[in-house]
Amino acid sequence: MAEVCSPLRPALIAGDKKPAGVTEDICRALLRPPSALWWGGFSVAFSLLLAGVAAVSYQIATGVGTWGLNTTVGWAFDITNFVFWVGIGHAGTLISAILFLFRQKWRTSVNRSAEAMTLFAVMCAGIFPIIHTGRPWLAYWLFPYPNFRGPLWINFRSPLAWDCFAISTYFLISAMFWYIGLIPDLATIRDRLQPGLRQRVFAILSFGWNGSYRVWQHYEVLYLLLAGLATPLVISVHTIVSWDFATAVIPGWHATIFPPYFVAGAIFSGIAMVLTLMIVARKAMGLEDYITHRHVDAMCKLLLLTSGIVALAYATEFFTAFYSGNTYEQFVFLNRARGPFAWAYWTMVGCNVFVPQLLWFRSVRRRLAIVFVLCILINVGMWFERFVIIVTSLHRDFLPSNWAGYQPTIVEVATLLGSFGLFFTCFLVFCRVLPVIAMGEVKAVLRHGKSHGEQA
């Protein structure tokens, strides 16, 4: 593999690290007891998770009626959260797979945690299609499993059935990709641990990795193949999720623009979430040398690009409605911008279109505190984007007699917070037990040991 690390470019990893130093830096965080900061974050996240568990248990025991839905608005927080979390996951796959294939070396510092984030986000997402059903204990009927009921298959024409395949495939591939990438690092940790339970666990998890040339070669090939396999998923998963809406007859949902619009939105929100996590982790775990301003800068540019695509999609939606001559369609968009949920619409536009424009400025991109706030706002905006699509389209559809409002209940809010609780709990545990930075890959992009003169 030709090395593209030009001496003219700034180093990807700051501090002139040596490989041993990298191992030391990354493993140090794992081997010392958790800090007060970690405990604080964990207790908040875990409390939210418990609140979510309580809310979901109550809802499953009592009925979907404990949510604020009604005959007209059959989906709201549930599917909003689902699409939101699936979207969050996309950045991980983008960074780990697509950027890998494009040989973007800077990804090495962030891909591990981005992939972990994908996994956790897909876990959060996967909960909602299950709990949003009226009879969640029968939700497995959405899968085409062999049965004695005829056999009775699922409806292969239903986008919800496609969702099941898309999400489960996505989860499996992401998990595999993430785990394969972890193996060399697991072995590193195994080798550094004192004999004991922990070491035995890591020994099992690292599959007898011995760091030999052959093993590395197999590993590289497998990693490349998996990256190739995961790449289409970045496009397909959110495309399929968008079909939930695009194939429906409801104005505001029935739009061919949805697949690219959703994919761009997903990457947009995912990158924002990665940045949010990275900026915190960098500070909290002392990884300033690994996650540098350059990484933040690159991701900010990605944000700016995807924000532009999303803005274009918003404008296109309005144009399509106007140009279609379909008054139901036109009404939906006027209703979005000026109806009872206009506040949600303008929150969405403000956060997703106007706020990211600040990232044009280098000075903004370099101020991590500002970037952090922007990323939070973008995630708020992207959550509202799904809320706007789902709720404003449903609440006033064809027959005016059906027009209704929607107001979430405390159970729904607790479920949303619970999903954040699950996400951050998983992420915090991940930070404690696994290396947040792919040591093996980072070592490959160090300047150490490379003779500049050899560059082609």
């Binding site: 009592t62 007209t72 009226g134 009879r135 239903s158 139901y328 559809d397 064809f398 209940t409």
Partner: protein, 964 residues
């Protein structure tokens, strides 16, 4: 020496001990093995057995129940097949003929009797819902004496003893009842009262028509209520008479009215009223008129008619053109107004044509003057004995006092109401479905009631109680047969449900009236208008959750009565929907406001029949969860009682009075409305060009009739995967006929086991009715037009719900039905989201069905849905199946008109027609090809199977007609 192999050092060294344990390796007997405790093999066997046993036991879902067959099969009874008993509805005094559907010994549904003249197969919402009263667990199961359970013997003895004393003392005996339409009962009451020197039978109606009777006494010399014949009227002028909704005999009137509203030769109808009534909503022209102005309007109209149309009044001209074919009705309980009405009808020669006083109506016979006298007597403590039958004066009337000073106070109430709780003895009457009874709603028409079930409690028919207390105990059956002996063929009448008897009057009363005196000027200020709501035609239905949850056809409120104010009046008071108002007119009541377009600016309307004790039971109605709010109001009841606003004036109970004061209290409640956007126009600031008004309901003028719309036809992109080779079920809904009366809604609810969800759930827009009636306003708020649109599952050929269901829980039948398979549904709600008509209903909770008695009403042919599944209109698939099975058994095809869906069956207007679209001669096929036909949201190409027919409204002045 035997060679010794050892397995361990220990064995080698210590041979003796271990050898004993090691040696008998295979020699153990099975018995010893069991004794020795569980072995691996034994454990596996036991585990296998337990697992298999457990699995087998787990396979049976419900515990086995013993079903005991009839020891002797009753004649003609086939288990699982319904029987129908002809009967008469007891929900009001109109006397609609019924067929009570009885399955396995329990009545489960009421259907109109097609042959009987009042019903002609239809019912109203209250009639449909009244079957629930049979299974009302709050009904008394035995008589009460002093509030304690007693025996009939004990009560009889005690009452007779007290009656003896009153007879000796010559005390006043009063029998207070609603209009008695039963001649046999009237005879029993008369016989009973004949025992006393000072005895009087006082009848009153909670919604009185006393002024009509009194006016006819003056103008015709007979206290009669004309039998109004709307089917003979070409021009109808109604003054505050809601004859399609609640007035006197609404089912009969609605049917007769609809019969003359079939385009192209439609009758013309103008309505003068202060409150937008159901009838006003159907009128060609509606003129807002305050109650105080009605008499003046009538006098003015009379003047125009007298001058033979001079003055250019359109209505007078039309009426004059239709002499003898016109009808003027007035619902105001005011003598002046009624005298003028009679005068106009007399001038137009309508008596004997559209008003039959020869065979008059007996549906309202109450006399407010008698009632006022009785109340005065009660107040002064002059009544020794009071018998109360089927009325609740304490709740119905203002100023009932002195009940504590009565010597003997007996109530025949079926449950403890406001009046009965103060009675010394309660002798509960049967529910009408348990009784033998007769009724003569219109002179010459005898409608019979036969029991559809044995009495559920130890109740006794009032007629039997009266007979027992008259000294001639007899069974109700015998009393009725005895009364009608030889007048008609009993068996045939019982089978048909009714009989015609020769008329009793020698000749029709003649006009002896004069031109009435000019009416008094109206009182300025707010007029309070207490009205009967379509869903609650009187307080006697206050126990009925079906009716409380039925959205009012106009206001769309449930579980409350509201003060209706016009938008202008509400704005001037600075109040909005849900603000609690204090209405003062003599007494004061507090009710939440509902802003009602079409309401007169100076009229505040409140429905009667609410705020009853019977509604206290709904405190715990509906699913219980953390955010649940109670169905009852702060007063512990549903709504507020408007009776204190009534007053007696010149011997008449006035429902409308001037001089009311309306003030806001500053408190607010959230109303439970089933529709919150009331027009087909979208809000102005959201309206796209060309999309301001949605063409969901279409309305045309008579001149446009017969001009079919140019329909766009599109090439089909997809192959027709549903060939519909056999039947293809469809429906036609004539919006011109539909008056919104909502009988279909309740009929559907009873037929299809739809749960009642309570006020909080309705407020959250989660009512479960499978058919709803969308009500849309158009025009300016002070002069609204109303359209009613029954909306149910449209059974689309290209159903959007079917493609999106991931589990195939909603699929298309080869006869065009969208079938919902409850046990396959996991409840993703995707289908409901994708339904353009939002006709699907989701079971958000397990709706409580804890009242075991009420559960007897459940239709065994329809699954009771559990939590988390979607449901919707099935086109009454159970009825389709039944008819198909019957047809196959008979070897004949299903004929058109053999299947009636529950909604179609109940509809008084005949607005709903169900049938086979593949049969070109079926009624539904013909309607589907009518020039007025259209389909809602046809442009989506979902191909609904429900065809709507456009409304025809003639709004033009007659002069304009020629210009076309």
């Amino acid at each position: 020496m035997e060679k010794h192999y050892w397995r361990s050092l220990a064995e080698c060294e210590n041979r003796g001990e271990l050898a004993a344990a090691a040696e008998p390796e295979f020699a153990e007997s099975p018995a010893r093995e069991i004794e020795a405790g569980p072995s691996r093999r034994g454990f596996l066997k036991a585990a296998g057995f337990a697992l298999a046993g457990g699995a087998l036991a787990g396979c049976s879902r419900a515990p086995g129940e013993k079903a005991i067959p009839y020891a002797a099969q009753p004649e003609g009874l086939v288990a699982g097949r319904a029987q129908y008993y002809a009967s008469t509805c007891g929900a009001c005094t109109a006397g609609c003929g019924l067929l009570a559907k009885v399955r396995d010994g329990r009545p489960i549904k009421l259907e109109g009797n097609r042959e009987q003249a009042i019903s002609r197969g239809a019912t109203c919402a209250a009639g449909q819902a009244s079957i629930l009263g049979l299974y009302d667990s709050y009904r008394l199961k035995q008589p009460l004496a002093g509030g304690k359970p007693a025996t009939w013997e004990g009560v009889d003895r005690a009452v007779l003893e007290k009656m003896e004393r009153i007879r000796a003392g010559g005390g006043a005996v009063r029998y207070l009842s609603e209009t008695v339409t039963s001649p046999a009962k009237q005879a029993a009451i008369d016989r009973f009262l004949a025992q006393f020197r000072d005895a009087r039978h006082v009848m009153y109606d909670a919604v009185s028509a006393s002024a009509i009777l009194d006016a006819h006494e003056r103008t015709h010399g007979a206290r009669v209520l004309p039998h109004y014949r709307f089917e003979r009227a070409d021009v109808i002028a109604a003054f505050d008479a809601d004859f399609l909704g609640t007035w006197i005999s609404p089912v009969e009137f609605a049917r007769d009215y609809a019969a003359r509203r079939m385009p192209p030769n439609m009758s013309w109808h103008v309505q003068f009223e202060g409150r937008l009534s159901l009838t006003g909503s159907k009128a060609d022209r509606r003129i807002r008129t305050a109650p105080g102005e009605i008499a003046g309007r009538l006098a003015q109209l009379a003047a125009f008619i007298e001058s033979n149309g001079a003055g250019g009044d359109d209505l007078a001209a039309r009426l004059l053109q239709a002499r003898g074919r016109s009808l003027v009705v007035c619902g105001v309980n005011d003598l002046d107004a009624q005298l003028w009405t009679n005068y106009i009808n007399h001038l137009l020669g309508n008596y004997g044509a559209t008003l039959d006083i020869e065979r008059a109506s007996l549906q309202r016979r109450g006399s407010d003057r008698d009632l006022a006298d009785l109340l005065a007597e009660l107040k002064q403590g002059q009544v020794a004995a009071l018998f109360i039958d089927a009325v609740n004066p304490v709740a119905d009337l203002p100023g009932v006092a002195g009940l504590d000073r009565i010597g003997l106070f007996v109530s025949f109430a079926g449950s403890v109401d406001e009046t009965a709780e103060r009675a010394h003895y309660i002798c509960p009457d049967h529910h009408y479905l348990e009784s033998w009874a007769d009724a003569e709603p219109v002179a010459g028409l005898v409608s019979l009631t036969q029991p559809a079930i044995r009495p559920l409690g130890s109740t006794r028919a009032a007629i039997e109680t009266l007979a027992a207390w008259s000294g001639h105990p007899a069974k109700a059956y015998d009393l009725i047969r005895e009364y009608w002996k030889d007048r008609f063929d009993w068996d045939r009448a019982l089978e048909a449900g009714f009989a015609e008897v020769p008329r009793t009057h020698a000749a029709a009363p003649r006009w002896i009236g004069r031109k009435p005196a000019p009416p008094a000027a109206a009182t300025p200020g707010y007029a309070v208008d207490v009205y009967a709501a379509v869903g609650m035609p009187g307080g006697r239905h206050a126990y009925n959750p079906f009716l409380h949850e039925l959205p009012d056809p106009i206001t769309k409120t449930t579980w409350d009565n509201c003060a209706l104010l016009s938008p202008a009046a509400a704005a001037s008071l600075g109040v909005g929907d849900g603000d609690i108002l204090r209405i003062e007119a003599g007494a004061a009541i507090e009710v939440p406001l509902l802003v009602q377009p079409g309401q007169h600016d100076q009229v505040v309307s409140v429905a009667l029949g609410y705020g009853r004790k019977a509604s206290e039971r709904f405190a715990n109605l509906g699913p219980r969860w953390i955010n649940h709010k109670p169905t009852i109001n702060a007063n512990g009841r549903v709504g507020a009682n408007a009776a204190p606003l009534l007053a007696f004036e010149h011997g008449l109970l006035r429902y409308q009075r001037g001089g009311a004061v309306v003030a806001k209290t500053g408190r607010r409640i959230e109303l439970a409305l089933t529709q919150t956007h009331h027009t087909l126009s979208v809000p102005k600031h959201l309206a796209p060009a060309g999309g301001e008004v949605r063409p969901i309901v279409r309305e045309i003028a008579p001149a446009e009739l017969g001009k079919p719309e140019h329909a766009e036809t599109h090439e089909e992109l997809w192959p027709d995967d549903h060939p519909y080779n056999g039947h293809r079920w469809g429906m036609a809904v004539d919006l011109n006929a539909c008056n919104g009366c909502s009988a279909c809604v309740i009929a559907c609810q009873v037929e299809n086991n739809t749960p009642v969800v309570g006020k909080d759930e309705v407020r959250r827009r989660r009512e479960m009715h499978w058919i709803r009636i969308d009500r849309y306003y158009s025009g300016p708020p002070e002069d609204v037009r109303v359209a009613h649109q029954p909306m149910m599952c449209q059974q689309c050929d290209h159903a959007p719900c079917e493609t999106v269901c991931p589990t195939l829980a909603t699929v298309h039948s080869d006869e065009g039905l969208n079938q919902q398979i409850y046990n396959r549904c996991v409840g993703t709600r995707y289908c409901a989201n994708n339904c353009p008509y939002k006709a699907r209903r989701f079971n958000w909770f397990d709706y409580p069905r804890e009242d075991r008695l009420a559960n007897l009403l459940l239709n065994p042919d329809v699954t009771v849905r559990s939590r988390g599944v979607m449901e919707k209109c099935t086109f009454c698939v159970q009825r389709i199946q039944e008819a198909k099975i019957e047809a196959r058994r008979n070897g004949a095809p299903v004929r058109d008109g053999e299947i009636h869906t529950a909604c179609e069956q109940a509809c008084p207007a005949g607005a709903i027609v169900f049938g086979d679209l593949n049969d070109p001669s079926s009624r539904v096929s013909r309607l589907a090809h009518d020039a007025r036909q259209y389909r809602v949201l046809d442009e989506l190409n979902v191909r609904p199977s429900v065809h709507y027919l456009k409304i025809v409204r003639d709004e033009k002045q007659q002069g304009e007609k020629h210009h076309g």
